[in-house]
Every structure is written in C-alpha cells, then in structure tokens.
Symmetry: C2
Amino acid sequence: MAIGAGPEIERLMALLSKLPGLGPRSARRAALALLKRREQLLIPLTNAMQDAADKVESCRICGALSTQNPCATCADPARDKTMICVVEEDSALWAMERVGAFSGRYHVLGGLLSALDGVRPEDLRIDGLVERVRAGHITEVIMALPATVEGQTTAHYVADRLRPLGNGVQITYLARGVPVGGELDWLDDGTISHAFKQRR
Amino acid sequence: MAIGAGPEIERLMALLSKLPGLGPRSARRAALALLKRREQLLIPLTNAMQDAADKVESCRICGALSTQNPCATCADPARDKTMICVVEEDSALWAMERVGAFSGRYHVLGGLLSALDGVRPEDLRIDGLVERVRAGHITEVIMALPATVEGQTTAHYVADRLRPLGNGVQITYLARGVPVGGELDWLDDGTISHAFKQRR
C-alpha cells in the first residue's frame, strides 16, 4: 500500500489493522482520526498505552491483568476468600465484575485446552489453581468457562485435577438455559434442550 | 465501568473506544489484545504512534499529512506540476494514490462546507488553493470531492473562487455513473439517472 504519506504512517496503519475488529480500511480511518486529533486522541492514547506497557502485569495469584500485584481483587480483604471463579480470559472477569453478582476471587486460565490449536494443560494457569485449592480454605470453585466444546473440555479437565485433592471443595458450573429476553424461535436446539432438561 | 483492573486499563479502553469503528465492547477486546500481546503489538504500536505524533505534520503546500514538509508528492519533481486534484481528506488522497491513475499534485481541503456543522470557507484550505492557482502554471484543477450535497456545494464554491482568476485553468469533476461491477437493480435512482444522462 504505497500512499506516499511516508513509512511512519503506513506502519501505524499496518499495526492498527492487527487490532481485533479493525481491517485494513478501518485501520486507515483510525490512523486518520488519530493524526487529525493529535492533542485530543493521538497523544493521550499513546500515553495510556505507554502507561499500560509499563505498569500492567499478570497477578501472581490469579493471573488477571492489573497494575497491582497481587491485583486489587486478590488484595481486597472484603472479598470472599473461599470462592474462586475460573475464567478463560480477563474479558470474562471484566464481564463478571460489571454484573457485580460475585464477591469471591478469580482465576484466569489464559485460554482453553485445544488439540487443534495445540494448547496443552501446561500452557494454561491450571497448576496455579490446583495449588490455590490445595492450600485450603476454598469451599467452591465456579467454572465460568464458555459453553463451547473447548470450554467444556477445559472445565472437565480442571475439575478432574481438583477432585482428587479431596478437601471437600465443591465444583459448580454456570447455569445453561434461555438468555434473558431470548425468544425460543431464535435459540439453537442445544440451548432449548438444555433449558428443558434443567427446568425447575 | 468498574472492572477492578485499575484506572490505567480503564483509561486505555475509554480512549480506544473513541477510534472510529470501535465501540465500548470492541475497545475492551482491543485493549485485551494489546495487553496480551505486549511485545508483538502494544509496544510496537505505542512506538509507531509516538513516532507519528512527533513527525507527522500537514504539508505547507497541499495540506497532506506527511513526515516531510513539503510532502513527498509536492517535493517529487517527476509529478506533473500543472494539475491539482482537490480532495476532502487524506483518506481520499490515499485512495487516489492506491489507484495510481493520477500523476499530478494534490490539495487537501481538510473537510467540506457545511452550514449544519458550522464549517465555513475559512475553516478549509481554500485560500491556499486559490494562491497556488493564482501563482500560475496550473492548467487543470480536478474536483475529487464526494458526490454528496456537502461535497458538491464545496466543489461549486471552490470553482467559483478559482474561475475569476482568469488564467485559463480548467476545472473538471470526477465522472458519475455505474460503479465497476455495479448492478442496476442495486443502485440508487440518482446514480442511474446520472449514468443515463451522461451516456456515451
């Protein structure tokens, strides 16, 4: 893409196009928006990214991205130490926190097991979770993993690793069913079948 | 949006969501992608943005964003000095350069006249264009402005400013018609009517 604007601008576009949700065309629009709004957007965003690059790391206890280590959630004495919610990624943790329904702590696996993508148990933060549960004081581990084949395979594997510890920890799963506002006509058969079997 | 990840990460998301094409959800995904790919994406993109903030400015002749001043196009002796292509934004200039059909120089207005948005002639780089044409050696000014009401109003206004200079400069407009691959059934009536009237 030779557009005569100089290698710096083309490099900026090329890197922006690697962000999820941005293709080559939207990356050009984003680059133009940044260059046109130098003071209001380009410089503040550059500083925010530099800040993030300097300060954000994975919490040594739960693996969540944070500017503190341990992260604010792990360090908060008001949060329930006996419950761990296991999530795939920080985005799931952020979603749970937005909802505000959970007052325990988290464990971010950092991905899901996948034979296809070559993700093995040792590539995820599973040993760390086993250690946390082995150390005691945990009464419930909630598997908040995606309702996909990889998500459920990972949940089963993790549960199999936790069960032999034999310290009475309960392993629970997010309920499956009709989402709020969901119309039956638009739902897939698997969801309807689940919701029917687990009716109450 | 309190997600417990610290103010730096929330600030990063808030700024990313100001980019065109990114809403709050895709900004979260983009932030996570950046933080997970620190070495491959976050740091290179931060450096590219810092580079752009430091080096990119508007060309003093044509107004194009460039790391050189005058820009590479204005400074290139191989490009036709007698033709100026007038565009709204750098994105249009980049599109023209990708096509490679034009070997003259450009003039970036920096926007379009709009009574609604309060954009007046003095807010655009129109005086600079008049000066370039007044200085002579220009035989053709091509209005490559959008085929919208604002685009055409701006083109008429600019043409009215250039015509009194009376140095025989020709003012031309991009052809209107059926786009390549366009099926009549999918085109708006205005385009079909234009294409019919200007049939050849």
